[in-house]
Amino acid sequence: MNEQTNSQHPDKSRETAPPFWQMQGITKRYGGVLALENVDFACERGAIHAVLGENGAGKSTLIKIAAGVVAPTEGKMMLESREVVFTSPQEANAAGIVCIFQELSLMPDLSVADNICMTSPPGRWGFINHRAQRRRAEALLAQVGCEDVNPLELVKNLPLSRRQMVEIAKALGRDPRMLILDEATSALTAADVGKVYDILRDLRRDGLAILYISHRMHEIEELADTCSVFRNGHHIETFAKGTHSDNEIVRLMIGREYTQIYPAKPAHPEPPAPALSVRDLSWGNRLKDISLSVGKGEIVGLGGLDGQGQRELLLALFGVLRGVSGSVEVDGKAARLSSPEQAKSKNIRMALIPEDRKSEGLLLPMSVRDNISMASIGRFTKGIFIDRESQNARVDEMVERLSIKAGDNELPVGTLSGGNQQKVVIAKWLMTEARIILLNDPTRGIDVGTKQEIYQLLRDLADAGAAILFYTTDYDELIGCCDRVSIMYDGGIMRELQGEAINEENIVASSLNISLDKQSSDGEPRP
């Protein structure tokens, strides 16, 4: 396969010419957070360039800048040595840069043909020639091997895998000179993935520059000519495929400082009695036969790359999803979880601390006090009225325990800092005296100090007997905080790690669905 790649690689004479696409000194700041810092990046025509990195390494920001979705804070971009500035995706498209985003850019109520020919439909004087549009859509669908999709069908009636192929057809319809794929194969069937590979190789032969973001090592193995590794907003290294082993790549992706900010883990001589145990939980094709248990006093981490089903698993346990199969036991007794109300009821006492605190966790215009007591308001009643006194006493106690810095508990929660807002969400669920606590990436976008307080709090809760299931995208937290870790991949649990085995190498490798031990012994890439 290596020879094949080399023969397809552009001739060496071009190497001295300036690169086709260049980004120089790119920095991107979101508020106080540095997403990219002084990044130089370049890619060539006729090559597939893979971009690798952990969650939050800056890959997405990089391609959003290239595709005109966000503007860089600093730095410049050059296309064929000419400086370009994009203020919208439209302008990037006009320059020949087309991006296939992870969150699809299709309009569900419109037909496939309408979607594919959205911006530049055939026709004249601003009117659309529907017949020509249908033929063009048919041709593009055929090019991606989707003859079975009727161009007149509405996109919302297509399964996710077909939609992703329509997205690819749509991108090809814009005659890109540089094509960016962000996890474009994540929802595809195996047969479709093969087709996409063939298309990408054809496009490479036609001289397109292709930027490819994927978390699947074997895809990179199969497709890429060049790889670039990103970490913490920095461009670490770019190298030709085959010059680094998988082990070395994983190390490049991790290699960051490890700070000791976690409370000590208690020794569990024997596994504690499970408070929550799940068997063969499935939901559509998003969750597959998940079995796991969380013991009393235990913190179990959920790891893996973004979007492998972790969020859905927590929602399923909390009774938000419909049509979930499998069994859930709480304290050894079968539990039916069909609504959040039931999940937080007296005999289950479960709490879910949601990921998006602004939309699912808080009522921003309402006061800190009202937010904290929202989920347990039923406890503070005198007849049908709210007993202000006992409510206030408990709220004050919570504010003190979590050291929420609000100034006044009557202030709207929207005026607090991100870290304090997150504490309010946690306080709200602690008030319900939950025994089973599900956390969905609770430390995202929070400063280190607050993070540390949250870790200590989780450990205290566990020591007091709570069972905690903790999903985080930060590997450090899995290692530092969790007694056991389950890594999810593609809707299933890929691997369970315990004790010493919870380390970065294992977590990253399992997240990417590759086995390191095997790799280092025989050096063969695994599918």
């Binding site: 995706p89 439209q90 569900p108 109520d109 419109l110 309408d114 959205m118 007149l152 509405l154 999803l321």
Partner: protein
């Protein structure tokens, strides 16, 4: 064949509206003492076309995911304006008509500009501008009255060749000259795209601002056509808040009955026309069956509720309950 099936399933809402209207109208005609005569049809058409035009005007903002509470007031404003300037010799009359339509379009454009550039919610924007337009209408015509070129008014409210109501031809012309070209234009499809998924439309390089502006401006123009027609029907102008309010609310009902989604992105003005026809026929049915006209709101409500329930059936297919709230 397969495409035919698809097209039918995609215009379900429209087809249901047409069927319901045909059934209701047949029931009306067969029970009418005179049967289907030209005067009966003309009277029915003149009343229905007014609401149909306002409902078409409402459809465009709704398609983009908005709502226009000012269509009824633009309708009243242009009515009052027409009762002062659409008269005199043919040239003056023609000039008056052009001015009335331009004022309608301008009112719509102002709505659009505030929504697009001011980034305000359409519902509150148009509630406010609607009050402003009504205020202007009152200034133009503090008391009911005025006049309109009589020959033209007669022609527009009677028949062509003694068989076809002229008002229906006007409606057909509006569909052919304004709606269908718009539907098939890049800007028009942009409106559907914006209503369906604004973020995806932006990512796809749709010019969102232009589409929304066009939708509100055309909406104003259509309301202006309706205001003009109202002047021909009543031979005068009247700044009546209750007429404006009733037309606004009925236009929203007609849009929904016609199969356009209030979430935006799906449906069309043809459906709204039939939605308006259905609402109007309810009146007529009460009349021929000798039921008290006071029952009209009740029947309208029942029809509207059934139409909305059909659209809400999607809720049963949702697997993630959080999506219910989006």
């Amino acid at each position: 064949m397969k495409n035919m099936k698809l097209r039918i399933s995609q215009s379900q809402g429209l087809l249901i509206a047409i069927t319901v209207f045909v059934l209701m109208f047949t029931l009306y005609i067969t029970n009418h003492p005179a049967g289907l005569t030209v005067p009966v049809a003309t009277t029915a058409a003149n009343k229905a076309v007014l609401l149909a035009l306002v409902a078409m005007a409402q459809t465009l903002p709704v398609l983009t995911g908005g709502l226009d509470l000012s269509v009824g007031m633009i309708f009243i404003l242009t009515n009052c304006l027409a009762s002062t300037i659409v008269s005199g010799d043919p040239l003056q009359t023609a000039f008056g008509i052009v001015v009335v339509l331009l004022v309608g379009a301008l009112a719509g454009f102002v709505n659009g500009a505030i929504v697009v550039y001011g980034r305000l919610q359409p519902i509150i924007t148009t509630l406010a501008t609607g009050a402003v337009y009504y205020g202007i209408a009152l200034l133009i015509r503090p008391v009911p009255g005025g006049e309109v070129q009589e020959d033209l008014a007669d022609f527009m409210t009677y028949t062509v060749f003694d068989v076809i109501p002229t008002s229906l031809l006007l409606l057909l012309a509006v569909v052919l000259i304004i709606w269908l070209p718009f539907r098939n234009s890049v800007v028009g499809r942009g409106c559907y795209a914006v209503g369906s998924a604004e973020g995806a439309a932006y990512m796809s390089g749709v010019s969102i601002d232009r589409s929304k502006l066009a939708a509100y401006t055309l909406s104003g123009l259509l309301a202006g056509v309706a205001g003009l027609m109202l002047t021909f029907v009543t031979f005068s102008g009247e700044a009546s808040a209750s007429i404006g309010g009733t037309y606004t609310l009925n236009s929203i009902a007609a849009v929904v009955i016609g199969g356009t989604s209030l979430y935006g992105g799906a449906g069309g003005a043809i459906g709204s026309i039939f939605g308006a026809f259905i609402l109007r026929t309810i009146d007529d049915l009460l009349f021929v069956f000798d039921l008290p006209p006071l029952w009209q709101p009740l029947f309208q409500g029942v029809v509207l509720l059934s139409a909305v329930s059909l659209g809400a059936a999607r809720v049963f297919r949702i697997k993630n309950r959080l999506e219910l709230f989006n």
